[in-house]
Symmetry: C2
Subunit: 286 residues, 2 copies
């Protein structure tokens, strides 16, 4: 099971769009995927609203508070199935915003998510039987956990970075998004030192790229030339796949569908399928 966290403290760079569409593309390529919505805005959850049952299951806030109230008993996830077998969701909650204050003094405040996700999976993690095959016994785990995070570097994002095997950093190909990149890499180095993270790779994903714009090309060239200067114990690379600016990606959430179902022939859908294949290839090479 690989934990992939999508993060960037800069706002509006395509974190949610990437987490949702990468999760869907990986499950379309027959991998068992759990998408976790760790943003109080719940944008990942609403981006898939057309694929969810009417009664959503437990949300991430309930799972986290359960862990703190009953640390000795295995956490019960009772995940939300989607109409896209084998994709499951742990929905977001507006109450997550309160956690920053509630937990800031707790000794586990930066590692609780890693403990929740990595502890020996209790039987209750086994997702509910997919509606299509009531008799099959669902497997106990997933191939990928994809974590969508809020902007900023608050407690929730720190937890998601500490829990990650891989961090995917969407960077909008504009100047202000470029500025924050070195700050984020320094934060990752610090977290690895302080919490012995299992982080082995950081990938920069260029998003909203418009090859006609000088700015897009300039930012792409700047990132590909400066990244090698960062000496880290984890590997850093720029994804081969580049996500183009494609209005269909911005329209899809208003229909509650991922791009693969909203407009499968769009450049956005193709790009996220390419990204999924690149993620799968990277893993098979390790």
């Amino acid at each position: 099971m690989k934990i992939l966290t999508v993060a960037n403290q800069k706002g509006g760079v395509g974190k949610t769009t990437t987490a949702v569409n990468l999760a869907v593309s990986l499950s379309a390529l027959d991998h068992r995927v759990l998408l976790l919505d760790l943003d109080p805005q719940c944008n990942a959850t609403s981006s898939l609203s057309a694929l969810l049952p009417d009664q959503p299951r437990r949300d991430i806030y309930a799972v986290i508070t359960d862990y703190f109230q009953n640390p000795a008993t295995p956490v019960s996830f009772s995940l939300t199935p989607t109409t896209l077998e084998p994709l499951f969701l742990l929905p977001g909650s507006a109450d997550l915003a309160a956690l920053e204050i509630e937990l800031s003094e707790h000794p586990d405040s930066r590692v609780f998510l890693r403990k929740i996700l990595r502890s020996p999976l209790p039987p209750s993690l086994s997702p509910p039987r997919p509606p299509s095959s009531p008799t099959a016994d669902p497997p106990l785990d997933f191939d990928y956990l994809i974590l969508d995070t809020p902007p900023g570097i608050g407690l929730i994002t720190v937890n998601a970075l500490v829990a990650a095997d891989t961090v995917l950093v969407p960077v909008q190909t504009e100047y202000l998004a470029l500025e924050g990149l070195s700050q984020l890499l320094r934060t990752l180095i610090l977290l690895q030192k302080n919490f012995q993270t299992t982080l082995d790779s950081v990938s920069i994903l260029l998003t909203m790229f418009d090859s006609r714009l000088r700015l897009s090309r300039a930012v792409r060239d700047e990132i590909t030339s400066t990244l090698p200067n960062f000496h880290t114990s984890f590997s850093t690379a720029v994804c081969h796949t580049i996500i183009p600016r494609n209005i269909r990606l911005a329209e899809a959430p208003s229909h509650g569908k991922p791009i693969l179902l909203f407009d499968p022939s769009s450049t956005g859908a193709e790009a996220y399928l390419d990204l999924a294949r690149e993620v799968l290839n990277a893993e098979s090479r390790q």
Copy 2:
């Protein structure tokens, strides 16, 4: 002196672009303006880097920690002048991110900014003499304080909302930015009740608007039709000015200049001058 806070928990909607270019446009129309960068990313500060002296003055973090360490003595701001005469800056600091944890238990944790900005202005607030007129005695206050805030609704943003007379909410004309709007209005109502804020108006500013796109038009129509349903004790309205998507606005920060100096004839420069006039008109009507 009017305190105008630019805020929206959704990331990447044009908060910094609006705070910087509105502050510059108001000062170009001969008003004394102080821009405060409350975002640990310091994007507002870097967007004006070409107008700043080599040695920046005290930053916002130094001012806030000074207030907490020496509550009895007047705060010394020593503001940073810019090459644009009546515009001054209180630069941002990456250390702001630490405040969320450091101050969360303090009794003043949500009102400290209002106290710092509204207390009888100590002589030290008087901005340094503008380089061009060493003998003139600078006035003690400003016509406008413009506050740029980070994404999310953390401690810093709450403080900026509690201190505000007016809140300007940039909303990118896309679906996910629309979703968070009602959550923000509910937060403002709650803050007004709990902290007796002086908030008298909330204005929604449509940004990155592309009239050729169905999505832009649909989001604009949705906002203008649903806003009147929000019954609040402060007035809410959609700004008459709409900021178009204009690549020059995204290029300007890489030159450290506001749009008015980077490309004065661009649609972006015209729109922010229109917005400044609209803000001035709204005030003269009160």
